[in-house]
């Protein structure tokens, strides 16, 4: 007779639960399963009504809002870059929407949007350096409005 394998011995050592424990446990598992089903159904109904996955929209909406607030209040110079990026993406989306091959002018619009963005960022950086130089000349004292580049 061959000795029992570790799996077989584990199975044989597992004692069946007493009915007083197994019945409430089964009821609890069934209730959890029902709740999961209900949540899944409600989510599917909301997504169907909304036309897109709502939780994904909320997550990315909050992310975008967080970047907006951070760039607006904490790293003010970055607001320029943030707005420029959004404008650039939106320009690319609109000029390429419809799935058609981009025409000469929509390509030109994209190029113009890109150059606008680059010029804007350079202008901002130039103003920052000018104000910084004024501060240096003024012995470290910020001239009026220097904080608001």
């Amino acid at each position: 007779m061959t000795p029992p394998t570790p799996d077989e011995s584990a199975k044989s050592s597992k004692k069946p639960l007493a009915p007083s424990v197994s019945q409430p446990l089964a009821q609890f598992e069934a209730a959890v399963h029902d709740m999961e089903e209900q949540v899944r159904e409600v989510n599917a109904r909301i997504d169907k009504k909304a036309g897109r996955p709502l939780w994904l929209a909320i997550v990315f909406g909050l992310l975008l809002g967080g970047v907006f607030v951070a760039s607006l209040f904490f790293v003010e110079a970055l607001f320029m870059v943030f707005v420029t990026g959004l404008v650039l993406f939106a320009t690319l989306e609109l000029s390429g929407a419809g799935g058609e091959r981009p025409t000469q002018s929509t390509l030109a619009a994209r190029g113009h949007g890109l150059s606008d963005a680059a010029v804007g960022v350079l202008f901002r950086a130039h103003r920052a350096s000018v104000v910084s130089a004024r501060c240096d000349r003024g012995g470290g004292r910020h001239p009026a409005g220097a904080r608001r580049l």
Partner: protein, 181 residues
């Protein structure tokens, strides 16, 4: 200059001359709609005290969007503009008006230190511009025969879909800033 050169080249090319006028229209609309309107946000932002104005303006517009979405999804029955956007409803508009007024009066009086009536004017003006911006984007999408502008922003209909109500509102905010700021 690059635009002028490319358009001039297209004008001399017989094969593309037919669509030249439409091309020029598209290019002007794209440039006037997004970079031009977006630049108002930067114009307000660079003015003294403009940071809080931009913050308030964007929060009011987001309140319009969220108010319309939640109320429309829960109670929406009567279509607002069925030929442009069948899902937008008057109930949603009412919710957006309420959300806009609450946000505008709270932020206008507490953050921008405006009198209550000026904050109310701001709420009404931004409600109008945000709703019209939303409808304008729906009109463009309907004209192009697409549901979403792009799939670049997961869960949303693209970056323009998020900015459609903000863009015209920034021009309105600029005017309000000149008057009350």
């Amino acid at each position: 200059m690059a635009v002028v050169i490319r358009l001039a080249r297209a004008g001399f090319d017989a094969s593309s001359r037919a669509s030249l006028l439409a091309d020029i229209g598209v290019a002007i609309v794209v440039l006037a709609y997004i970079p031009f309107l977006g630049s108002f946000a930067l114009a307000v932002h660079t003015a003294p005290g403009g940071v809080w104005w931009v913050f308030t303006g964007v929060v009011v517009v987001v309140s319009v969007d969220v108010g319309a979405y939640v109320t429309g999804l829960s109670f929406g029955k009567t279509p607002l503009a069925p030929r442009i956007s069948p899902k937008k409803t008057w109930e949603g508009f009412a919710g957006s008006a309420l959300a806009a007024q609450i946000a505008a009066v709270l932020l206008g009086t507490l953050v921008l230190d405006l009198p209550w009536w000026a904050a109310t004017v701001m709420g009404v003006a931004l409600l109008g511009s945000a709703t019209l911006g939303d409808l304008l984007e729906s009109l463009i999408k309907r004209d192009l025969g697409i549901k979403d502008i792009s799939s670049w922003l997961p869960g949303h209909g693209g970056f323009l879909d998020r900015m459609d109500s903000i863009l015209p509102s920034m021009a309105v905010l600029f005017v309000l800033f000149q008057i009350f700021g």
